[in-house]
C-alpha cells in the first residue's frame, strides 16, 4: 500500500503537474510523489481490471458459460486421457476420429442446451473430454464415469476379417456415451437388470435424437438405427440396434443375431451383460419410437421433452420399466395436460411393448434369483 498526502491525493492530475512545475520545493516534491503514486495506483487498477476479466472468464467457464471440449489421443495405448489433440476453438485435425469426437460432442451439447436448456453433462458446464484411438483393436466405446473413450474397431486385423469400424463413425454413439454422463448426474440408474436397461435405453434415445437433430429429420424420416456405419461390409447388418424394429439390426454368421426384444413377452432373463442391459433396452427403446411416431414432427420436441424431464426429475437408481412407463405418462400430463394427445401417445407407446402406464403390464417375471435359477436350469423356462 502506498502512502499519500491527505491533501494532494484529491488534487486533479493537471493541477498536480502545475504544482510540480511552479510550487515551492516541498510542494514540488509532494506533487511529484503523488503523481508517481497515482501512476502506480493506475497500473495496479489496470492489473486488477485485467485480473478481474480473467477471473470472470474462469468463473464463467467453471459455471459453464458455453461448451468446452477437449479431444485426447491415446495413441493406441491404455492410459487415459492421453495427449491433447484438439481443444475448444481449434481448427480441424487431419485425423478423422479426432474431428468426429469433437464435432459429435459439440452437437450433443447443442441438443441438450438448445432444446432441453441443459448446460452440459452435469448441467453446470462440465468440460466434455473424449479420448480416441484407445488401445489396439479395441472394438468398443465407453463412458468411464468422467469421460468418453473410443476404440478404432478391428483396425489391427486384415480388411477381410474386420467386423467393426472406428467407434466415432456414428454420431449416435457419441450422443449415447455422453448421455450416460447425464444419467450419472440425474437418475443415477444402476447399471444392472431393468434400471441398467433403462440407463442404456436413455443413451440410445438421446443418441438417436442427436443424429435426428443434426439431420433435421422428423420421426417418420429418421432411421432409428444405433451405430449405423459401425459394422464393416463383412457383416450382414445395418447397425448394432434398431429402435424401430428391435432384434433385426444384424443377423450374421460371425456376430450372430441381434438379441433385442421389442415387447415384454420376449423379455430376456440373463445374468450376462449386467443382466441384459444392452438386450432388454430394446423394449423401452421401442416404446419411445412408438410414442415419437404417433406424435409426429421432430422427436426431440415432444417425446424427447417427456423422456428428458422424466430422466431428470422422476427416475431413480432402481426404477424399472413399469415405473418408467408410469412416470413418463405422468410427466407428459404435467407438460402437455392430462388427457392430452401427447399423454395418450405415451400411453400407447408403452402399450405397444406390453406395459400399461397405470400398472399391471406384462411382467417379465421373477427377479435376479429367478433369472439365476432359470439360467442353471433349476426353474422352468418361460
Amino acid at each position: 500500500m502506498h502512502k499519500h498526502s491527505p491533501i494532494l491525493c484529491i488534487v486533479p492530475p493537471h493541477m498536480l503537474k502545475e504544482i510540480a512545475a511552479n510550487g515551492s520545493e516541498i510542494q514540488k516534491r509532494m506533487a511529484v510523489d503523488t503523481i508517481n503514486a497515482s501512476a502506480i495506483l493506475r497500473a495496479e487498477r489496470l492489473k486488477m481490471a485485467e485480473f478481474g476479466a480473467v477471473f470472470k472468464s474462469a468463473i464463467a467457464k467453471a459455471a459453464g458459460d458455453g461448451k468446452e471440449r477437449i479431444v485426447y489421443d491415446a495413441k493406441n495405448g491404455s492410459s487415459l486421457p492421453g495427449t491433447i489433440a484438439r481443444r475448444e476453438g481449434d481448427g480441424p485435425s487431419a485425423d478423422v476420429a479426432i474431428n468426429e469426437a469433437y464435432d459429435g460432442s459439440g452437437i450433443t451439447y447443442d441438443l441438450f442446451k438448445d432444446i432441453y436448456n441443459r448446460n452440459s453433462i452435469d448441467g453446470n458446464g462440465m468440460r466434455l473430454d473424449s479420448t480416441v484411438h484407445y488401445q489396439k483393436g479395441y472394438d468398443n466405446a465407453f463412458w468411464d464415469g468422467q469421460q468418453m473413450v473410443y476404440g478404432d474397431g478391428d483396425e489391427n486385423l486384415p480388411v477381410s476379417e474386420r467386423l467393426f469400424n472406428r467407434f466415432t463413425i456414428a454420431l449416435d454413439i457419441i450422443g449415447h456415451e455422453l448421455t450416460h454422463g447425464v444419467t450419472q448426474f440425474e437418475a443415477k440408474l444402476v447399471y444392472s437388470q431393468q434400471p441398467g436397461a433403462l440407463n442404456e435405453s436413455m443413451s440410445d434415445v438421446f443418441g438417436s435424437l442427436v443424429k435426428q437433430y443434426q439431420r433435421k429429420q422428423t420421426a417418420d424420416q429418421a432411421d432409428w438405427i444405433i451405430g449405423e456405419g459401425l459394422l464393416t461390409a463383412n457383416v450382414n447388418g445395418i447397425g448394432i440396434r434398431t429402435m424401430k424394429a428391435p432384434g433385426t439390426a444384424y443377423d450374421d454368421p460371425v456376430l450372430g443375431k441381434d438379441p433385442q426384444p421389442a415387447h415384454m413377452k420376449d423379455y430376456v432373463n440373463t445374468i450376462g451383460d449386467n443382466g441384459g442391459v444392452h438386450i432388454n433396452s430394446g423394449i423401452p427403446n421401442h416404446a419411445f419410437y412408438l410414442t415419437a411416431l404417433e406424435l409426429g414432427g421432430f422427436a426431440w420436441e415432444k417425446a424427447g421433452q417427456v423422456w428428458y424431464a422424466t430422466l431428470r426429475d422422476k427416475l431413480t437408481e432402481k426404477s424399472n420399466f413399469q415405473q418408467c412407463a408410469s412416470l413418463t405418462y405422468q410427466t407428459a400430463g404435467e407438460l402437455f395436460g392430462t388427457g392430452s394427445l401427447e399423454q395418450q401417445a405415451v400411453k400407447n407407446g408403452w402399450a405397444g411393448v406390453g406395459l400399461n402406464v397405470e400398472g399391471g403390464g406384462t411382467e417379465p417375471g421373477g427377479g435376479c434369483l429367478e433369472s439365476l435359477l432359470r439360467f442353471v436350469g433349476a426353474a422352468p423356462a418361460r
Binding site: S78, S79, Q135, K136, G137, D139, N140, A141, F142, W143, D144, G145, V149, E161, F164, F167, I173, H176, E177, H180, T183, Q184, V190, Y191, N199, E200, S203, G227, L230, I240, V254, L255, P259, G272, D273, N274, V277, H278, I279
Partner: protein, 106 residues
Amino acid sequence: MDVERIKFERTGGFANMRIAADLEPDDFSEEQLSALSDLLDKLDFAELPENMVSDPSASDQFTYTITVEAEEWMHTVVTGDASANEKMQELLELLNRLARNQMRKR
C-alpha cells in the same frame, strides 16, 4: 509358473458382442507364453481380488472374466476396462487376441 489352462470371457460393451475361449499352452506361441507368464507374475494374479470392477458409474465398458488354472492353484478375476491397470490391460489384450483367433477358427 506352469499355466495349464485359461478360461477367458468378454461380455458387455456398447455392441454387446461376447467373446469366450478356453486356452491351453498349445494355443500360445512361445513368445506369447513367455509374455503371459511374465504378466501373471507381475500382476501376482493368484492374489488379486476376485472382483476388480470398481467404478459403478462406468457404462458400456467390457467385463472380463479370467480363470487361470496352474499346477497348484486356480483363481478367477472379474475386471473391467476402466479399473484395469497397465499390466492387466496387456494381459487382456493378449487373451482377447487369442480368444478371437480361436473363435474365428471354429
